[in-house]
């Protein structure tokens, strides 16, 4: 969630900033008067950003560089790191569990993103057209507010193969039960559905906010010209929403790639590694087997993938420009 929020808030902030800036221009004269006095602010200026700079250096920059360094070492926490050059990277290339884990993750990302974006888009478009109710939007984001641990516990109860309500309903319809979280074939789709349940409200609200920026006149003009609703959705809503769709898709992909909490609480990567997603494997290597060097290597690999995906996605969907401007 942190990454989601972090990645998209600047965009929101910009609106308000630029809107209010014009108001500010009226007060330009007094600004100029005191700006001379402002120049002597370097002491206070540095004092106020010292905590932020310390935090940045110690807990963001240093660990990033150190992570890169550790990826070239054999490091087990208790003994000092030992430089082994590309050893971890060679191991990565030959580690079948890693590649299986990557495939599992990709499968999960594919399902979670496809389902998540499609359902959120549909819900947002319908919400936008039918009601402006904050209460309904509020209820929809409810799962987003609770922790993944709670979501994981509740869904493992509802999906339980003997007493879970979902299975009892399925049984009464088909006579069979599905071992959602303990069947190799079902575990990833089940985890994807739980993830979509939890995050759908958030993506819906983001898309909804995007829809609100489309001027209603555009639709009115199209209606006057005799466009039907399907044409309007295809020719107006979709193209105008492209930047938001791109952003939401990227955010969903990035957070799906880092899925951990729900997996850790429900399956711990099982049955037999069938839900051993990358983050789970990294956790297991680092904290289960204390192989921090290799853990750092895999973290870097995951980071590299995220960067490549973000950039490709940005290009493909031309996220930086909407068709209006």
């Amino acid at each position: 969630m942190t990454t989601q929020l972090e990645a998209n808030k600047p965009a929101g902030a910009r609106t308000r900033g630029s809107k209010d800036r014009s108001k500010n221009r009226k007060g330009a004269a007094p600004t100029r008067v005191t700006s001379a006095a402002n120049r002597s602010d370097w002491k206070l200026g540095w004092l106020l950003i010292t905590p932020a700079i310390l935090g940045f250096l110690v807990f963001a920059l240093y660990p990033t560089l150190r992570g890169i360094y550790l990826s070239f070492t054999d490091f087990r926490v208790l003994t000092p790191a030992k430089w082994i050059g590309l050893g971890n990277y060679e191991m990565l290339l030959n580690d079948k569990v890693f590649w299986d884990s990557l495939l599992t993750t990709l499968y999960f990302v594919f399902l979670a993103v496809l389902l998540g974006v499609a359902i959120s888009m549909l819900t947002a478009v319908i919400l936008h057209r039918v009601t402006n109710s904050t209460v309904i939007r509020g209820l929809i984001i409810l799962p987003f507010l609770i922790s993944s641990v709670v979501a994981g516990v509740v869904w493992s109860w509802m999906l339980d193969s003997q007493l879970g309500i979902v299975n009892l309903w399925i049984e009464s319809l088909s006579g069979e039960t599905i071992r959602f979280l303990s069947d190799r074939a079902w575990v990833i789709p089940s985890l994807a559905v739980i993830t979509v349940w939890k995050s759908m409200g958030y993506t819906t609200i983001l898309i909804f906010a995007g829809l609100q920026t489309i001027p209603p006149q555009v639709y009115e003009a199209a209606r006057t010209d005799g466009a039907n609703e399907f044409q309007m959705f295809r020719r107006i809503t979709l193209p105008l929403l492209r930047p938001i769709t791109a952003m939401v898709t990227i955010l969903t992909i990035i957070s799906a790639f880092q899925v951990f909490d729900i997996v850790q609480v429900t399956t711990k990567g099982g049955p037999a590694n069938a839900s051993n997603v990358l983050q789970m494997y990294i956790y297991d290597k680092a904290f289960g087997q204390l192989d921090f060097g290799y853990g750092a290597t895999m973290s870097l690999a995951l980071f590299a993938m995220l960067i490549v995906i973000s950039f490709t996605q940005m290009r493909l969907m031309r996220a930086s420009e909407s068709d209006t401007n």
Partner: protein, 305 residues
Amino acid sequence: MTSSVTASRLRRTRAKPSVGRGFAWGYLVLILIITIFPFYWMLRTALSNNYGLTTDPISILPVDFTLGPFQRVLGLASVADARAEGGSGATLDLGIYIRNSMIYAGVATFCQVFFATLAAYSFSRLQWKGRDLVFGILFTALMIPAILTLLPNFVLIKELGLTNSFAGLILPGAFFSAFNIFFLRQFFLGLSREIEEAALIDGASKIRVLFQIVVPSASGPIITLAILGFINYWNDYFWPLIIAADPKVQPLTLALAVFKQSSPQVAPDWAGLMAASLLAALPMLILFMVFGKRIVNSLGFTGIR
């Protein structure tokens, strides 16, 4: 499917009820049910006798209504009573974990927002050499995902001897949040400076201007950031999982996960688990009831440009 439903709905935007509109509402109701049902199911299970659950699992109402699950996870029931209702005897010392979560989420959020406010003021109102360069460098941190810093930060906290302490939990995120700084700086830049200038001419110090004029004018965004930060920290799992093995500092989310793992694999105490989950989610549900509208609007607001 998507487009046909929306299309038929779209046609009658402001017209009388239509088939499309009916479908649209039907869809929304379905989505709402799927969204809300697990919460209801938590409550229904938490008010049931755990043995009753096996005999009548499909009942939509609590089976053999009892407050037992809440009592036993809170440690208020005797072990014998707990066993009689299907409990494992494991309890969740909720008071301590809520306190831990409050300290963790409260202090971390406060520090994060407070230091971001100071930095944002410095970046938006004070003139000093290298300001824009420093801002640019800090801004790149938005690109660093948690995954990259998680393991090295753990190693660092361990080297500092701060595992199993609130300091270890809170420190990494407390001082610096690129997003909060950026967000508040943008907002401060948009605020009219007239009152500030007047106060400065009257001889007020910059610090006073910050706390008595700028912060009150920006209370909306500051509260929004605080709420979002608090939710984030309250629900945080991965970091506490690796840092806080000691129950004395474990936040509630982690305690719940541990509680789940401690319940027996065969015939677990689902009623107790649901009671614990509900209690773990309760603070967020209360926050939601109080600030629901603000949360909805701020989430949307964070997304659009």
